[in-house]
Amino acid sequence: MVYALCLVLIAIGLYGVVVKKNVVKIVISMAIIEYGINVLLVLIGYRSGGCAPILQQGMTAATLAAHAVDPLPQALVLTTIMINLGMLILMVAICIRLYERYGTFDITEMRRLKG
């Protein structure tokens, strides 16, 4: 059920990218798609009642392996968050330049983007 909610979040982002007219709105919906995927990835690695994969004082490696949450999706999501930041920086630079050219963030004015 929780996975379905993630898919709903991704679908909302997809809807925003396709339908919205405003350039910055499209950038925001892409950010929402990527948030949905991050949550999906971490949910895959969740162990009910699991602790963080850090070896505290009193634990041994064996107890950590028994209780901890799956660390691999967390490393992947750490990378994906940074990729989304890089993508956002690039898109905002393009939006600023487009604003300089057209004076508005609206796609309908920009000739080639209508398609």
Partner: protein, 188 residues
């Protein structure tokens, strides 16, 4: 578990508001809210490392997004509901929903990670020998900088490339032959 569902529902509401409001600044703030809710969700899913990173990256996204929209055209025109885009989206969302429901029937339940369901998965080995092989108590750091540091190298390249690309896009005189009317032509 139920707290997770509440957080996800709040996120969905925030996402809908972020996309539908006309004022650009309020939609940016809503995206910020969704980001912070995700940071709380990461905390409950046993990923403190991600919670900190998501929180800080979220704050930075807000700053950069506001930089794009400050004292610029703040109202986004809704315009006529363009029919083609709507049908394509509805079709796409339907396909995603149907595939999701059928797929999640066979998907493992929420609480069982990969290590419980299968024998000798790498993540079980990371947990068992991670500290002992790399000496780092935080297994995620051991993973990022020890086992998979080739990924971290790729990621630094991505950040570097996107910032240099943004600098290239925002540089003032893009072409030499462009007749610059104003005298101030500095290529930073």
């Amino acid at each position: 578990m139920s707290l997770l569902v509440i957080l996800l529902v709040l996120m969905i509401i925030g996402a809908i508001i972020a996309i539908e409001t006309t004022n650009l600044l309020s939609s940016i703030v809503c995206v910020g809210a969704v980001g912070f809710l995700i940071s709380i969700a990461f905390l409950f899913l046993g990923a403190p490392d991600l919670a900190i990173t998501q929180l800080v990256v979220e704050a930075l996204c807000l700053i950069i997004l506001i930089r794009a929209t400050i004292n610029r055209d703040l109202t986004s025109v809704t315009g006529d509901r363009e029919f083609f885009g709507l049908t394509v989206t509805v079709a796409m969302v339907l396909v995603l929903a149907i595939a999701g429901i059928k797929m999640f029937g066979e998907f493992p339940a929420l609480g069982q990670p990969v290590m419980d369901r299968m024998a000798n998965t790498p993540s079980a080995a990371y947990l068992a020998h991670g500290t002992e092989q790399t000496g780092a108590k935080n297994v995620v750091t051991a993973l990022m900088l020890g086992y998979r540091n080739y990924d971290a190298l790729g990621q630094v390249a991505i950040l570097f490339c996107s910032v240099i690309g943004a600098l290239a896009i925002l540089r003032r005189p893009a072409r030499k032959d462009q007749k610059e009317k104003d005298a101030e032509a500095d290529a930073i």
